[in-house]
Amino acid sequence: MFLASRNLCCRGIKLRTDLLSRSIKHSTSATMPFRHKNTRRIEGLDSNVWVEFTKVAADPSIVNLGQGLPDISPPSYVKEELAKVAAVDRLNQYTRGFGHPSLVKALSQVYEKVCGRKIDPLTDILVTVGAYGSLFSTIQALIEEGDEVIIIEPFYDCYEPMVKMAGAKPVFIPLRCKSDGNSSSSADWVLDPAELANKFNSKTKAIILNTPHNPIGKVFTLQELQVIADLCIKHDTLCISDEVYEWLVYKGNKHIKIATLPGMWERTVTIGSAGKTYSVTGWKLGWSIGPEHLIKHLQVVHQNTLYTCPTPLQEALAQAFWMDYKRMDDPDCYFYSLSRELESKRDRMAQLLKEAGLKPVIPDGGYFMIVDVSTLNVDLTDVGEKQPYDYKFVKWMIASKKLSAIPLSAFCGPETKKQFEKYIRFCFIKKDSTLDAAEVILKNWNKQ
């Protein structure tokens, strides 16, 4: 029997504990079956294309053009800043939760210049664990059950599970090739305005925009952004704008921030990434920029998920940003020099692929290139597993050619997988020796 007295002393507790203990032991019959499965919010979200393909490509004998990971060195001053910071004691302890002061200040300066509007470093910016963390904070803050979120296909794969984890319904709309399947440029891939308009309804809480686009490399034009903006304003829809590749645009193209279009600042959260800006994906720092009335909700999510991001990395990043901020009018600014470096890699990659008989889609931005592999007519019908053609092709290519890529159907919703299964994605932010090794493979492709 349990004694409910509140008057306890140490001995009393021990006695009571013993009595309870014995009572519990006697009342427990057979061990209960383990009922602890996953929560509903993560049902079906456990598999992941990266887990599958990064494992396969981890073999060092494979030329890895799959995962979007630079094997070029970050600029030396970025590495030096981190080394300097390591020596400063107080930078090893907690900093401001929503973003290290010197970093949010630097970000506000850079983006004020780009956007042409005042950005408050404390209320309009949140620093997160990579752009991934920004996407998560934005979606958790603003999306819930009953909402619909428009996702443009192909899409960076995390958008779909994140929307689902928030309890909402993803509504897909594909980019379609306007030149009847014969695409040579990312600009050939467009949204059908009427089709897009049809996707909007009273439940549409947000649309996720990714420009420059992963995987196709499309840089949305002003007109295209205007169509999206008009619909957002008409339906009072938010825009989550993933602009991690914002500096990586090639000649003849301009990255335009949808938040700068009239009526859009107040309904847009713009996401950026240190990993992509400075070739330091392993620093895992990103940011969300937007109006206070939206960012404050992201801050609430952040203070209830991980609270602060690492201090030394934020300080080093802030210093790097100051250096490039000062030379934003100079072509040597890393924001522009990286893009020039990548353009020549892009062109080299495209050339190699064409020579091997493949049809690359030349990207206007980003560091990925999609390639139509159907022209090779590789027969994989005998390959056992029921997987889309591009999955089978990549696995075959890894095994027989020692070259890896990512299948495009990983970036599509269920209805569109068929449309994209003849494409695979290559990453070209790779050092010369990696591209040399890829060249050897591609040149020897047909000699088997």
Binding site: F2, A4, R6, L8, C9, C10, R16, T17, L20, S21, K25, T28, M32, F34, H36, K37, N38, T39, R40, R41, I42, D46, V51, L69, S73, P74, K79, A83, A86, A87, D89, N92, Q93, Y94, T95, G130, G133, F136, I143, E144, C158, P161, M162, M165, S202, K234, D236, G275, S279, T281, G282, K284, V300, Q303, T305, L306, T308, C309, P310, P312
Partner: protein, 433 residues
């Protein structure tokens, strides 16, 4: 039609309902106050002394080394060298074999480990037992996951001989604890050593919690971030090593607390694959990777500790020794001016009863704010000494249960603790004169 649907949309708040009731945060306010007013900051829990040299050297080595690939993504569930050494370490501590790939996951601080636990395991309608006083994030995290927090207090039993209370004198009432378990109880959050009291749960106390978990098939989220900070020869006991507990416990740890580097934000979970698999799903859909270079340096730190385990040069032996001295110093300091510290068995926090100083901060009847919170704010503004009110660690309903306690952090340089003593002495003198 469009107009009406727009009206409906605009009348709804823009933010998701999961944020309801979790927007307030005590730290935002108190950190700002400390930054503005404090001359001596014993508030927020972080050391003002540097991390050990071997750790910062490990970072410098990693940066200086040939591989710039340490600046790129590593394995999402944890940098291989780190999960390997954590597995080795915890194998020793738990006395069981661990697979670094499935029984360990690295997180962005213990904070994100807690988040993964609640999101992975707590559904709408689930109850989660939280022992008060508690590290404040447990409650909003449970709520954000749609769960219902169920609170059970540690109750103070002051010693009859007039000596200072110890954190051991704050105990759960076993019958009260039993009554909190229901059909809907999904998990209990255990924090030992406990922040803010510094309590180190005894074998008997853990045994009771364990039996209830087994009986009711309840999970245990065991926040053990202060696992190395135990004093007076006490032992930190890992509840996962008790019978029936490994299969239902997620152990949370922190490099920030272990290596005095809170700003690195490297934490981890250790547990059975059938629970960790769900944490991995949350992790891969929320942050995915943790920063590589910090993980590399922490791995090296652990390697060093593995070779020095149990030896006097081990940081895990030296740090608690150092902190115990600081604890005793602060205890003396507070006792010397009439504040009554509760001597903590562990952590780097202590809670003190500030009753003799209450006359400086008159009570305001019908105030929404708990007295200790007003006191702490007055103290930082007028005396330049920052501390955190105990009510910050209680649920809304119980914030006024204890009005006279504030929490001090003593992971501070000697100079800081001396300066705190000066402020307290001066204050006392002002009161007596």
């Amino acid at each position: 039609f469009l107009f009406h649907s727009l009206q409906a949309k605009m009348s709804r708040p823009v933010q998701a309902r999961r944020l309801e009731g979790i927007d307030k945060n005590v730290w935002v306010e108190f950190v700002k106050l400390a930054a503005t007013y404090s001359k001596v900051n014993l508030g927020q829990g972080f050391p003002d002394f540097p991390p050990p040299d071997f750790l910062t050297e490990a970072l410098t080595r990693a940066l200086g080394g040939g591989s710039h690939m340490l600046h790129q993504y590593t394995r999402a569930f944890g940098h291989p060298p780190l999960v390997k050494v954590l597995a080795q370490f915890f194998e020793k501590l738990l006395g069981r074999d661990l697979d670094p790939m499935t029984n360990v996951m690295v997180t962005v601080g213990a904070y994100q480990a807690l988040f993964c636990c609640f999101q992975a395991l707590v559904d709408e309608g689930d109850e989660v037992i939280i022992i008060e006083p508690f590290f404040d994030c447990y409650e909003p995290m449970v709520k954000m996951a749609g769960g219902t927090p169920v609170f059970v207090p540690l109750r103070p039993n002051p010693p009859k001989d007039g000596r200072l209370m110890s954190s051991a004198d704050w105990q759960l009432d076993p019958a009260e604890l039993v009554s909190k378990f229901s059909k809907r109880t999904k998990a209990i959050v255990l924090n030992s050593p406990n922040n803010p009291l510094g309590k180190v749960f005894s074998h008997e106390e853990l045994g009771l919690i364990a039996e209830l978990c087994v009986k009711h098939d309840v999970l245990c989220i065991s926040d053990e971030v202060y696992e190395w900070l135990v004093y007076d020869g006490k032992q930190h006991i890992r509840i996962a090593s008790l019978q029936g507990m490994w299969d239902r416990t997620v152990i949370i740890g922190s490099a920030g607390k272990t290596f005095s580097a809170t700003g690195w934000k490297v934490g981890w979970v250790v547990g059975p694959d059938r629970l960790l698999q769900h944490l991995r799903t949350v992790h891969q859909n929320s942050v995915y990777h943790c920063a590589t270079i910090a993980q590399e340096a922490v791995a090296q730190g652990f390697q060093r500790e593995l070779t020095l385990y149990g030896k006097p040069e081990s940081y895990f032996v030296q740090l608690p020794k150092e902190l115990q001295q600081k604890r005793d110093w602060l205890v003396q300091s507070l006792d010397g001016v009439g504040m009554k510290p509760i001597i903590p068995e562990g952590t780097y926090f202590l809670v003190a009863d500030i009753s003799p100083f209450k006359s400086d901060v008159p009570d305001v009847p019908n105030s929404d704010e708990p007295y200790d919170s007003r006191f702490a704010k007055w103290m930082v503004k007028n005396k330049g000494l920052a501390a955190i009110p105990l009510s910050a660690f209680y649920s809304e309903a119980h914030k006024n249960n204890y009005t006279n306690f504030i929490r001090f952090c003593f992971a501070k340089e000697e100079a800081t603790l001396k300066a705190a003593n000066d402020i307290l002495q001066k204050w006392k003198q002002e009161k007596t004169s």
